[in-house]
């Protein structure tokens, strides 16, 4: 499923800043040649001890949060490596909405290609959700561009292109291929700036 419109769920609170993609999916799991099956390795080094037993104090292992599909986190989530495996792992684990004050650029782009909605809210709004999402449900409505929890609702910005991609689950490559004649025309007209 590459589309997303709406969700009502409680959140998993991952109260750590600057979470990099090396943590989301460590390098030893980048050796597969498929897009599925990464969920069990999500946050591997934070979820498991060296001998493979669960680290119970990590939020993803906390039974209270099991099955939740919204991940609430802090600034600059997804920094570092471009590995889309990080998004595949979140998706495979069941996460479909991320809420944070900011995301790293490449990671943010990768989310939309895989049916995950990354929502940017103001720091104090994220703080409010951290305080309340333990027991309260969060409603995320992409069409309205709105996040609601308790008696509060926050609007969020999202680019129209990314919104349309998610709302309609469009095939981006298919869309671009409709412009094949424009691409061909560009290629034939390139001036000196094209060295290739």
């Amino acid at each position: 499923m590459k589309y997303f419109k709406f969700i009502c769920d409680k959140a998993i609170p991952l109260d750590i800043i600057n979470v990099d993609t090396d943590q989301i999916i460590p390098k030893q799991f980048l050796k597969m040649v498929k897009k599925e099956g990464y969920g069990e390795f999500l946050f591997y080094n934070w979820r498991y001890q060296n001998d493979g037993t669960l680290l119970t104090d990590f939020v993803l292992n906390d039974k209270r949060y099991s099955g939740r599909r919204i991940l609430l986190t802090r600034d600059n989530f997804g920094s570092g490596s471009s590995r889309e495996h990080a998004v595949w792992a979140l998706k495979d684990f069941g996460i479909i909405v991320l809420i944070a004050p900011s995301f790293a650029d490449i990671f943010y782009n990768n989310c939309f290609k895989n049916g995950i909605l990354p929502v940017k809210l103001k720091s104090q709004q994220v703080e409010f959700l951290f305080k309340n999402s333990e027991n309260e449900e969060i409603v995320v409505d992409l069409d309205k561009q709105e996040v609601a929890c308790c008696d509060q609702s926050f609007s969020f910005l999202i680019n129209g292109f990314n919104k349309r991609m998610l709302m309609q689950g469009l095939d981006e490559i298919g869309l671009t291929l409709e412009l094949e004649s424009d691409i061909g025309e560009y290629e034939s007209k390139r001036g000196i700036h094209s060295s290739a």
Partner: protein
């Protein structure tokens, strides 16, 4: 109205501009060069095949194997079956779609961001993408070069284009220079820059590096700077091309030559500059006059101090930011360090000179000069992994391999190696490494491993002493 260097490259590459505001106004940007490697491409090719799509421009697509390859004897088969399958898959895909591949045993094999410039594939004014965040390296030539995810790799393979929203332009201007100041390197410049702007300071931006501190650098040094733009969160890094750039390009296999090249140089020189500093969305000034060698102490590349400083107290580092303070505490615990201790008192176990940040010829030459007549500390295991086979050959012709080996370094085959440890080159838990790579994230170089980012000469000196030293004192 004036334009930035980035504006000009962007404008040259717009194939189609979406005008419907409800669709977000993205631009369809043409990609001049697409570099691929074994780790982030298999799913992209699988996607193409599933829908019977073709590679639009195999002639603009170039592949190598770098992330997984062993750096030891390559005449024996790759033991790790997953790595082996990934490499085999790339070989099959390149074969099927007619893409040039610099295979593991090719004399041109190497880290994708080292071989692109070496082969003359990287040229000023180009757009370059690769499924690897350190694609920003190529910006040193005045090319708009950015890392992309696998879905975008598939998109570029199929269409030779990418939908993008134009990033902002951030100018970082350096006054002062490291020329004639032995002990300082480009690595110190970029580490101190990230320390200042923070690891998210560049989000949504392309950084143009300018000023005397940049124009006085060699191409190898400029590549070190642009390489770590992503560590500051930036989409890409850019340096306006000049004579240093053009001299580097002359004679490269894929670069144009003769009159054609000279005509292009004339164009690059006159066109590929920022018209006025006021064209940038944001500007930051950096003064290099007081720069000293840098060492990272934590688990992200902004957690850096001068070699003359002590490990910071989390509350001082965080400067009132609760989240940063928590993160610094966590970093100190992971790194096994106490605040207040001099960074020069930390003993190290491993030294890694390598990666797309610091494994070009100049990096190895500089490090080897310090090692002449010296020996690696008995408690340190040190290795050099040249960035490419060409770098390795050039170094061997200069006798640099013999200096490294005599000092006690391992001299390896080229690849990404212990920068990310996808091959057998990894740290053991709690091992502490002086590394010339780009990321000190938890577990990056091996589960539980502790990475300190430094320049090649700082790494060489650390190998000899078994701890960090102010390498300026060695000159």
């Amino acid at each position: 109205m004036g334009r930035t260097l980035f504006d000009k490259i962007w404008d040259n590459h717009v194939v189609y501009q979406e005008k419907d505001a409800a669709h977000g106004n993205p631009s369809l940007i043409y990609i001049d060069c697409h570099l691929i490697h074994e780790v982030t491409s298999p799913q992209a090719f699988a996607g193409l095949k599933q829908l019977g799509r073709k590679v639009r421009r195999p002639d603009l697509t170039f592949a190598t194997m770098d992330h997984n390859v062993p750096t030891t004897n390559r005449s024996i088969p790759v033991i790790d079956s997953d790595s082996s399958i990934q490499m085999h898959t790339l070989r099959e895909n390149c074969n099927e779609f007619g893409i040039t591949l610099y295979d593991m045993l090719s004399p041109q094999q190497g880290i994708v961001h080292v071989i692109g410039p070496e082969l003359g594939l990287t040229l000023p004014g180009m757009t370059i993408v690769c499924g690897d965040s350190h694609t920003s390296t190529h910006g040193a030539f005045g090319a708009f070069a950015l890392g992309i995810g696998t879905s975008d790799v598939e998109h570029v393979l199929a269409t030779q284009c990418l939908w993008m929203h134009k990033p902002k332009s951030l100018n970082i201007k350096f006054s002062g220079t490291i020329s004639n100041r032995p002990g300082l390197s480009a690595k110190d410049i970029i580490l101190s820059t990230i320390r200042q702007i923070g690891i998210s300071g560049g989000i949504g931006s392309v950084i143009e590096y300018s000023g005397e501190g940049i124009s006085t650098l060699s191409m190898d040094q400029r590549m070190t700077i642009c390489n770590m733009s992503i560590e500051g969160g930036a989409r890409a890094g850019l340096i306006a091309p000049d004579e240093v750039t053009f001299d580097y390009i002359r004679g490269r296999p894929f670069a144009p030559s003769g009159e054609k090249l000279e005509k292009m140089i004339e164009y690059w020189e006159s066109f590929l500059t920022t018209d006025s500093e006021t064209c940038h969305d944001k500007s930051v000034k950096m003064d290099l006059s007081r720069l000293v060698p840098q060492v990272s102490w934590g688990t992200n590349p902004s957690m850096v101090i001068d070699v003359t400083e002590n490990i910071p107290y989390p509350e001082v580092f965080a400067d009132g930011n609760v989240e940063e303070e928590k993160s610094a505490k966590r970093a100190l615990e992971y790194m096994g360090l106490e605040p207040g201790m001099p960074i020069t008192e930390i003993n190290i176990d491993r030294v890694f000179i390598g990666s797309c940040t610091n494994a070009r010829l100049e990096d190895l030459v500089d490090a080897s000069r310090l090692l002449e007549g010296r020996t690696v500390s008995s408690r340190v295991n040190a290795m050099v992994v040249p960035g490419s086979q060409s770098v390795k050959r050039a170094a061997e012709e200069k006798g640099i391999d013999r200096i490294f080996k005599k000092a006690g370094f391992d001299w390896r085959e080229s690849g990404c190696s212990m920068c990310l440890g996808m091959n057998p080159d990894v740290l053991a838990p709690k091992q502490r490494c002086a590394s010339t790579s780009n990321r000190n994230f938890e577990g990056r170089q091996g589960f539980g491993g502790r990475t300190h980012l430094v320049s090649p000469i700082m790494a060489a000196a650390a190998a000899v002493e078994g701890k960090f030293v102010d390498v300026r004192e060695w000159f």
